[in-house]
Symmetry: C2
Subunit: 338 residues, 2 copies
């Protein structure tokens, strides 16, 4: 089955088009050529949502239904919940001894997120150490391919540092190095034109948005602020309507015609937006139909089965890790008394 992929999402909200473009699409394709583990990272979500476990819990179902909607096949991909794999916590504890406090402080991704999240001086310790927890996630499944955005590269470096340190310290080859898989189109801009679609920025279209919400969001989409009168020529660069049409439309000829007309002048934003609404509804309809085939109970059932399977894999790795460290006492004692 080729390489092993570990991927996943923090269940702090339903998934949006940014997730689709950045990773879900690739996952649905790659699941047929790779061994793919897809983790709902609830424990990681709690590192900066400790006060909102209920929100995390609710979104586990939403995220799983989103996965199913975009075509992740639970018979092919292993969909599981991070906190259901206690082995990951134990691996994290052992890896924490192989990483210095200073190294964690200087993780560029974490530093940036601390600013973004406005933690100030109150950064939760769990948040500071989450790169080590990610290393546990990745290595537990011996993943050698991890789809991440460009800004997450330092996480892969941190994981590989731990892999090397562990293998060197315990004279073993148990842990496997991984490489980042950076998607071609890493980031979908938000409907407001900001570089990244994100829940926090409030500029997202969710996979589960109903048609009215989608229409409303498209109508307030950022276009060309200089395009004031219909007869004015308009810009298509940085104009979200055309960015989205390029990504989600299928009638390339029609889109090219609209672009030419818009640039020449005489084409109003609302006409383009109405067409984009049709395009988005057509794009999201099959996802939502598929999503609706499953109940929340189905989602829990799938996650529970997946978690059992994932746990067996992680337990096997933990067992190898402890053997390499020479702290697999139960086996040692059996050997002693045997």
């Amino acid at each position: 089955m080729g390489k092993v992929i570990l991927t996943g999402d923090r269940p702090t909200g339903p998934l949006h088009l940014g997730h689709y473009v950045g990773s879900l699409k690739a996952r649905a394709e790659m699941q047929h050529t790779h061994t793919q583990y897809v983790m709902v990272a609830d424990a990681q979500a709690l590192t900066d949502h400790a006060k909102e476990p209920e929100k995390v819990r609710k979104n586990i179902t939403e995220v799983c239904l989103d996965y199913l909607g975009v075509g992740l096949d639970p018979d092919v991909s292993t969909l599981f919940i991070q906190s259901q794999i206690p082995e990951l916590f134990e691996l994290t504890a052992y890896y924490l001894n192989l990483v210095t406090w200073n190294r964690l402080k200087h993780n560029p991704t974490v530093k940036q997120e601390i600013v973004q999240k406005g933690f100030g001086d109150a950064v939760p310790a769990g948040f500071m150490v989450y790169p080590v927890s990610q290393a546990a996630d990745i290595t537990a499944f011996k993943a050698d391919l991890v789809p991440v955005g460009e800004d997450q590269r330092p996480m892969i470096e941190q994981t590989n540092e731990i892999v090397d340190k562990f293998n060197n310290t315990y004279h073993t080859g148990v842990l496997v190095r991984c490489e980042a898989h950076i998607p071609k189109m890493a980031r979908l801009p938000g409907i407001d034109g900001q570089a990244k679609m994100s829940k926090t920025l409030g500029n997202a279209i969710y996979l589960s948005d109903d048609p009215d919400t989608i229409a409303k969001k498209v109508k307030k989409m950022y276009t060309d602020p200089g395009h004031i009168r219909v007869e004015d020529p308009g810009k298509i660069e940085g104009n979200m309507v055309f960015t989205y049409l390029d990504l989600f439309g299928t009638d390339i000829q029609k889109i090219e015609e609209l672009k030419a007309h818009y640039q020449k002048g005489g084409l109003g934003d609302m006409v383009c937006k109405k067409y984009l609404i049709d395009v988005m509804l057509a794009f999201l309809e099959p996802i939502q139909i598929k999503r609706a085939e499953y109940t929340p109970e189905d989602a829990w059932d799938i996650l529970q089965k997946g978690s059992e399977k994932a746990r067996m894999r992680a337990a096997a790795t933990l067992s190898e890790v402890k053997a390499a460290m020479g702290i697999n006492y139960s086996i040692l004692t059996t050997q002693n008394s045997g």
Copy 2:
């Protein structure tokens, strides 16, 4: 059974007289009036001995045999190995989200130990977070009494902060506050006269030292550097021979006579040391006889049974913790589909 005690030791070497005076003696007494959990803290030992798991593993047996030697009764006290209780790692992960990185940086005990251990800039992250791991150990068993030295008080404060933060955040009373139990005689000075007997300082008499080693160590004990000729008057304050005679001798009258004679002059160090050798051998003999009743295999067996019992207790607490956080999904799903 009165209060619940959690206590234990890092298995980085066999236990010495300092451990006996500071805590083992009290444990042997308190086990009959309290519910006592005694933890061999191997995972904690690995936070600063990541490169020496073999040393940690070997000393698990030594420490357990020392426990048995001083009279810890495995039918009364629960003797267990920290790493055999995976629930402790999971609790640690959740607690890490309730403590700030800055708070950990300012733990006075940890700051002092960082200097002592000469980590420099390379403090392992696992070492920095070990106070949170200790909070997991203590709260997992709902211990309300924790025997610690005066220098470990900040650890108890850290645990209680986590208890309060958890209970407030999740509107629960699941976690139990604890108090420090500071022994009357917290510290036995080393044979070299330094304030603390410690393996690192190389000034310890081990519970398992053989008679020759004990004699050798007593002979080089720090006495009164001003007491040069036998006929000179000698000081007994700060003189280790008399400190130890006071603590381990039983013939109080004889000891008082020796003290008076030494202070007056005319009593040589070697005479006193020879008597102390007899006293120490008499003190350690029953401990070593009892210790020798058990094989290393017996020790593993006891620790395994104790770990099973401890694990059930910790699992019950983790289950309550997850219920309080609302992340006990397996139960939730059962209820959903029920």
